[in-house]
């Protein structure tokens, strides 16, 4: 399922680095460790073609320095063009017709009234649905139309000259259902006599970003798809060896991604080229799926993403909106815009699965973990991907491990990867149990983690926490406040992995007028990769980042990584730096004749062309460019494997939360968060901090507010908008302090890593729950921690513990 071993997620997205075939190697001394703590030098063997090693950030000019967002002005002035803003001549507007019932066989679909509706140009009835699990034996279900498995499942679509006409016409499509028994409650779905979501075993392929599951062939009993079992050592012996065992049951809810820009595309089908503007995290993934679906050569499909309004894992591939819009466009002979509305966004394009976890941890008196056992159930709707064993498997050292992950099918939309898939759920349980273990062993929370977590970066992070004002202000005695509002402070760690997307390439061009540009199909999902690419060229050519031309988000450019699993920066930046370096060498060769020297005599540093032999005074880059013997030089480069791919790293952080619990109203107010995080070399610290702020806030929102509520009687989602599906707003944002542990691992020419997953979202739930315990002396093992849940927990004199 998700992540027993660090490499097992994102298989669909990532090609694991192979051995380099470049025979000509050189050695390079690289900075390793954390400045101020563990910084030292190590030697790496690297391809001879690699650029010189960058020093640590403090000694660079543009990289690692706070940098204004390259496209900040376009975004702040409304000039940034998102998919829904694309307006093509003759463009039509499309609407889906969606299922109104949770489980049904579609008997007939009458589109005649819609076809003849004024303004309607094309109508399409879906016969092949994308997303969700598929039956191992497809003959178990035979129907012309896909079986409806959730309310909101797309059934047909209409394209018309105005949005109003499309909406009116869509309402005129008559769908005749034979309704089937349904189940939307996970506990009920686990029962023997529950209605079955699938008539037989069904699996879902893994998706980019870590959604779904690549573990097919696991057993299935009724709606329970699993267990996927992972064992190392004899866990029962491990528990026998333990001096202390903590055993607890945790539950978390389904969360929807709720990106502010809904899923959608503008598709323009022309005989010689299908052009699709897509709100996507992967232009490459959209092209791949469209080419496969329509059996078009990839060269005949172009995907463009100039700006995109958030994805958080749910926006990979063309999906139903992509293929349906392209089909409508082909039928109508005109471009078609199909943007989902907010309700559709909640229902049909992904969510974070729920979890129901039984976690047992055994430890020796000194804290050494002898056994971890996790049995989890979770629902990914009519899909899979509810595994949540990543933290339990990968955060701490253990002697024995036994993990069983189960997906439970219900009649709800399929899940999708969602920021650190499985990890917020898993950490919510694990990090509370670790705190409980520390209490049982009478050990300090940080001392215990020092004993069981050898990761050198997190060790430094704990040291920073230990010395922080907020942690020093913590009263280690729980429930110390006497008034109705109780203050508490807690912490949690997070873990994520060094995933790489090797299909990451870029081209760098230098023009005779001294302008430089970088081209890659990569898309900027809001994390700021445009700015980072500009910084890399700025560092190479000495041109301010704002003057670098960044052209991305178009499959006409060299292939870019799909942005999921925190791969973008770690994967793409070395390719860009290598291309910039090679372009610079070509540039020097191009100006050498005019300067009367050999290219080998020239270097380009700090924006100046210098002669090693001292033949001339340094010349500014732009002046030198005017003497190029061609109008343009360019170089393309692809990501090469990590310098030492055997050395495997995890990333993470330690987050501290301070809460005030109103024991009378049941409200938890998060007052202050200290987030200490690692993302390798921070390329643009400003944007890294923005992402961590966002992860923390999204984590608070998940922990306290968000909850997809399905009505058991009708199977509908009762809060499918943003007025009823509460996400954190300005009033709920605490004071957030972010501290980056700049950390060098000597793996690439930029030595950068990602931050999206590890930032806050993983640890917020457990940090708040641990703070809640510190405030009240009560364990809260259920999310979201709404006032009702809080009051129920406080009314129990002692936390409920199940018998073993």
């Amino acid at each position: 399922m998700a992540t027993h071993t660090p490499h097992s997620t994102l298989d669909a997205l990532i090609n694991v680095a192979g051995d380099t075939t470049d025979a000509s190697m050189k050695t390079a001394k690289m900075p390793i460790g954390i400045p101020g703590f563990t910084l030292h030098e190590e030697e790496r063997t690297v391809p001879a073609s690699e650029p010189p090693v960058w020093p640590i950030n403090k000694d660079l000019s543009y990289v690692g320095k706070p940098q204004e967002r390259w496209d900040g002005r376009a975004k702040a002035t409304g000039r940034a063009r998102y998919t829904a803003d694309v307006q093509l001549p003759g463009m039509l507007y499309a609407r889906f017709v969606n299922s109104t019932v949770p489980h049904a066989r579609v008997l007939s679909i009458d589109t005649s009234a819609a076809e003849s509706y004024p303004g309607v140009k094309s109508v399409h009835v879906i016969e092949k649905l994308l997303g969700g699990a598929v039956l191992r034996d497809p003959t178990l279900e035979q129907n012309r139309y896909p079986i409806v498995r959730y309310v909101g499942q797309p059934i047909a679509a209409v394209a018309a000259t105005t949005p109003q006409a499309a909406e009116d016409a869509a309402a005129k499509i008559k769908v005749k259902y034979e309704t089937l028994p349904f189940v939307v409650d996970m506990d009920q779905a686990r029962e023997k006599d529950s209605p079955q979501v699938f008539p037989g075993a069904a699996d879902q392929a893994g998706t980019a970003g870590g959604g779904g599951s690549s573990a097919s062939g696991v057993p299935q009993t009724g709606n329970v798809h699993g267990p996927a079992v992972h064992k190392q050592g004899d866990v029962e012996q491990g528990f026998k060896d333990a001096d202390v065992i903590v055993d607890a049951h945790y539950t978390t809810q389904v969360q929807t991604h709720s990106a502010l820009e809904t899923h959608g595309v503008v598709a323009d089908w022309k005989p010689d080229l299908l052009t699709v503007y897509a709100s996507t995290q992967g232009t490459a993934s959209v092209r791949e799926e469209l080419a496969a679906y329509f059996q078009l050569p990839m060269s005949k499909v172009r995907v463009i993403t100039e700006f995109m309004g958030g994805g958080f894992g749910a926006k990979f591939g063309a999906g139903n909106p992509g293929v349906v819009a392209a089909t409508l466009s082909r039928k109508a002979g005109a471009p078609v815009r199909l943007m989902l509305d907010r309700q559709e966004e909640h229902l049909s394009v992904g969510n974070r699965p729920s979890s129901d976890q039984r976690l047992r941890i055994g430890a020796k008196k000194d804290g050494t973990i002898t056994a971890i056992q996790l049995i989890s159930f979770g629902t990914a709707g009519c899909g899979t991907g509810a595994g949540c064993a990543g933290p339990a498997s990968n955060l701490y050292k253990w002697a024995t491990l036994h993990v069983e992950e189960n997906d439970v099918f219900i009649n709800a939309g399929p899940a999708a990867a969602f920021r650190a898939p499985g990890h917020p759920q898993g950490a919510f349980a694990l990090e509370q149990s670790i705190d409980e273990l520390a209490a049982s062993l009478n050990m300090d929370l940080l001392d215990l983690r020092d004993r069981i977590d050898e990761n050198p970066v997190r060790r430094v992070q704990r040291q920073i926490i230990r010395e922080s004002a907020i942690w020093k202000s913590r009263n280690p005695r729980a429930n110390a406040d006497v008034g109705p509002i109780k203050r508490g402070i807690g912490l949690s760690q997070s873990v994520w992995y060094r995933h790489l997307a090797m299909d990451s390439a870029a081209e760098v061009r230098v023009h005779k007028d001294g302008s430089v540009e970088v081209l890659s199909a990569v898309q900027d999902i809001g994390s700021g990769i445009k700015t980072v690419l500009a910084q890399i060229l700025a560092e190479q050519f000495g041109v301010p980042p704002a003057q670098v031309e960044v052209k991305i988000g178009d499959t006409n450019y060299p292939v870019g990584p799909n942005s999921g699993g925190s791969v973008t920066t770690a994967s793409l930046t070395p390719a860009v730096r290598d291309a910039a370096w090679q372009a610079a060498q070509k540039f020097l060769a191009s100006v050498a004749p005019a300067l009367g020297v050999k290219a080998s005599d020239l270097t380009l540093t700090d924006g100046m062309v210098r002669s090693a032999s001292g033949k001339f005074q340094p010349i500014a880059f732009r002046s030198a460019a005017a003497r190029m013997d061609t109008n343009q030089v360019s170089a393309q480069s692809r990501r090469i494997p990590d310098y030492d791919p055997r050395k495997y790293d995890t990333y993470g952080g330690v987050d501290v939360a301070e809460v005030a619990v109103d024991t009378e109203t049941g409200r938890i107010h998060v007052k202050h968060v200290l987030a200490v995080h690692d993302c390798g070399r921070p390329m643009n610290p400003v944007a890294v901090i923005s992402q961590i702020n966002g992860g923390v806030i999204q984590g608070i929102s998940y922990t306290l507010f968000e909850h997809r509520l399905l009505d058991p009687n009708y199977g509908i989602m009762v809060n499918s908008n943003l007025d009823k599906y509460k996400i954190a707003g300005s009033y709920e944002v605490p004071k957030i302090e972010v501290q980056l542990t700049e950390s060098y691992i000597g793996q690439s020419s930029t030595d950068a890593s990602g931050i999206g997953e590890a930032a806050g979202i993983i640890s917020a739930g457990a940090a708040i729950a641990n703070a809640f315990y510190n405030a009240t002396g009560v364990r809260i093992r259920q999310m979201p921690m709404t006032p009702a849940v809080v009051l129920a927990a406080l009314n129990q004199p002692k936390p409920q513990m199940e018998a073993l």
Partner: protein, 223 residues
Amino acid sequence: MSDHQPPHRELPETSSTTGNKGITRRGFLKGAGITAAGTALLDGVQSLQQEAQAATPKGVMEYGAEAFPVTLNINGKEHALHVETRTMLAEALRIGLGMTGTKISCDRGACSSCTVWLDKLPVNSCMTLAVDAIGHRVTTIEGLSTDSEVHPVQAAFVRHDAMQCGFCTPGMVMSCAALIERNPHPTERDVRVAISGNLCRCGTYPKVFAATLDAAGQHATKA
């Protein structure tokens, strides 16, 4: 979904004096007034009602379900366009006029991505009928800056990195700029209140607070 049409999408009640053929301007404005009251645009309603009362029988125009021509004052310029009675201001701006800086995200007045000013009052343009903007000065994100100069709030948003994906940014900017237009010296609490309806899923709020406070400082010294 199409079978869940929100009430505000329905046409106002037809005036009894016009039969089935169409709606009088007076009757329509009455209906529009009722709809708009729900969006708390009381000043707008009042001015429309005054307009309705001022309309002489000679000047009565009949509007039906079809699109009809209107003139809207947007960013200081009169724009002629065709709208249906049910067309929302956000759609009129985005589709009718190609001014796509204003975003639609929830289409239900819950996220404020579509914030524009109606006479300097920030409103959700997805909940405001295009016809309710007649006679008002509409300011959109495009009207806040010129090619050469941006509003201090916009400049501060860039300086402070008060954006990630940027989809909520135009709405955030409009709310924050309206705040410092009416309160040149806001506190952080004031900023929180001003954007309490603006959702940001990337979680950029702390930098929005900082940027707005910074812009207010600049704004104050400029004024």
